[in-house]
Symmetry: C2
Subunit: 185 residues, 2 copies
DNA sequence: TATTGTTATACTCTATAACTATA
DNA sequence: TATAGTTATAGAGTATAACAATA
C-alpha cells in the first residue's frame, strides 16, 4: 500500500512482538501475556491474509463480500437465496445487503426473482455470467489457499480450526449475554 | 446487527462447516479440505472477535484503528511518532493516516508537533486526555481478552500464536514475490 | 530525485432509522 | 404485530493521484 517499497516487515514484526507493550501493559491486573500475544497475532495475521485475497479479487472488480455472495448463490444453485438469508450468513444487515446485491445485479452477475407463496421475499439467483466469473477465479483461489497453508501439517490445521471454533463460540456466547444484559437495563 | 434477535448462529455454523461447499469445491484440482476449512474459520472467527471489540470501543467513540493509534502513541510516550511510521505499523497509507490523526487531534486526544532536524516530518504525540481515555478502556480490555481466550490452555495459545506467525510470514513472502513479478512485467 | 504530509476523489463497508408491502 | 426489503444518511476504511515543502 501507499506505493512504498521496503515493506518495513521487520519494524511491524517487532512492533507486534509484544515485548514493546509489556512495560505499560503489565500494570493491568487482567493482563495475561499469552492471551494478548495471541490476540495481536490473530488480528495482524487476518489483516495480512485478508488483504492478500482482497487484492487478488479486486482484479475481477469484486470485494470480499461480493465474492462471498456469489459463492453462497452458486452453492444454492437455481433455487437462489432470499436476501435476508445472505445477510445473516455474511453478518451484513438487511439494509446493507440491498446495496451489495444491487451492484452485483447491475453487472449481471445475479438476478432478483420473486418467491411464490410470500410476496415480501425476493430471491437472489446467480446468472451464467456470475458462474463464469467464479469459474475464472476459483481454481487460482483454491490453489492459493492450499499454498499459503503449506506451512502447517494437516494435523496442525485441524487443531487450529478446532481452537478457532471454540474461541468463536465463546465470544458469541458473551455477545449474547451482553445483549441480554443490555436489554434488561 | 440489523436489530434481529435469534442470531441464526446454527445456520451460520452449518454454513461455515464446509460440508455444503464440498459438492462444488471438490471439482477443483487445488482444493484441499483442511486448508479451506481453516481459512474459513480464520476469517469467520476474526469477524466475530473484531466486531466484539469494535462494539466495546465504540462506547468511547473510537474505531479499532483509532484505538490502535493511541496505543502506539502511548507506547512511544512523549517522543511521539512520525505520521508515516504510524501508517506503516497499522497498514494504513500516508494519505489515510492524515484523516485518522485529524479526527483524534480535533478531539484533543493527540497533538501534532514538528520534528527538529527534518522539517518535512510531523510527530503525533498523545495528550493527557488521550492517556486518560486509554486508562478508562484498558483494564476492561485486557480482562476481556483474558476472558475470551480461557477456552484454550496457555500451551495451546503459544502454539496457535506460532502457527499464525508462520502463516503470516508465508503470505508476506508471497505478497513480496507477487510485487516483484508485477514490477518486472 | 525521493520523502513527508496533505488534499481531493471515489468506492466499499458498517450502522441506524424510517418507510412500504406484505404476512 | 412481525417480517422482508428498500431508501436515506452518516461515519469509517481503503485506494489512487496529484501537489507543496523539504531533504
Amino acid at each position: 500500500m501507499s506505493g512504498s517499497r521496503g515493506w518495513e516487515t521487520d519494524k511491524r514484526a517487532s512492533f507486534y512482538s509484544l515485548d514493546r507493550w509489556l512495560r505499560h501493559a503489565r500494570r493491568y491486573r487482567g493482563f495475561h501475556e499469552p492471551s494478548v500475544e495471541l490476540h495481536l497475532n490473530l488480528i495482524y495475521t487476518y489483516g495480512v491474509v485478508a488483504s492478500h485475497f482482497a487484492r487478488r479479487l479486486s482484479a475481477k472488480r469484486l470485494s470480499l463480500s461480493a465474492g462471498n455472495v456469489l459463492m453462497i448463490l452458486r452453492e444454492s444453485e437455481n433455487k437462489g437465496r432470499p436476501l435476508h438469508e445472505i445477510g445473516e450468513l455474511l453478518l451484513v444487515s438487511r439494509a446493507n445487503i440491498t446495496a451489495l446485491v444491487d451492484s452485483l445485479e447491475r453487472r449481471g452477475l445475479l438476478e432478483r426473482v420473486g418467491q411464490e407463496g410470500d410476496r415480501r421475499v425476493r430471491i437472489a439467483r446467480i446468472t451464467k455470467a456470475g458462474e463464469a466469473l467464479l469459474e475464472s477465479i476459483l481454481p487460482g483461489h483454491y490453489a492459493e489457499i492450499r499454498r499459503i497453508y503449506t506451512v502447517m501439517s494437516s494435523k496442525e490445521k485441524i487443531l487450529l480450526s478446532r481452537l478457532l471454533t471454540k474461541l468463536r463460540n465463546n465470544v458469541q456466547r458473551s455477545i449474547e449475554s451482553d445483549r441480554e444484559r443490555g436489554e434488561n437495563t
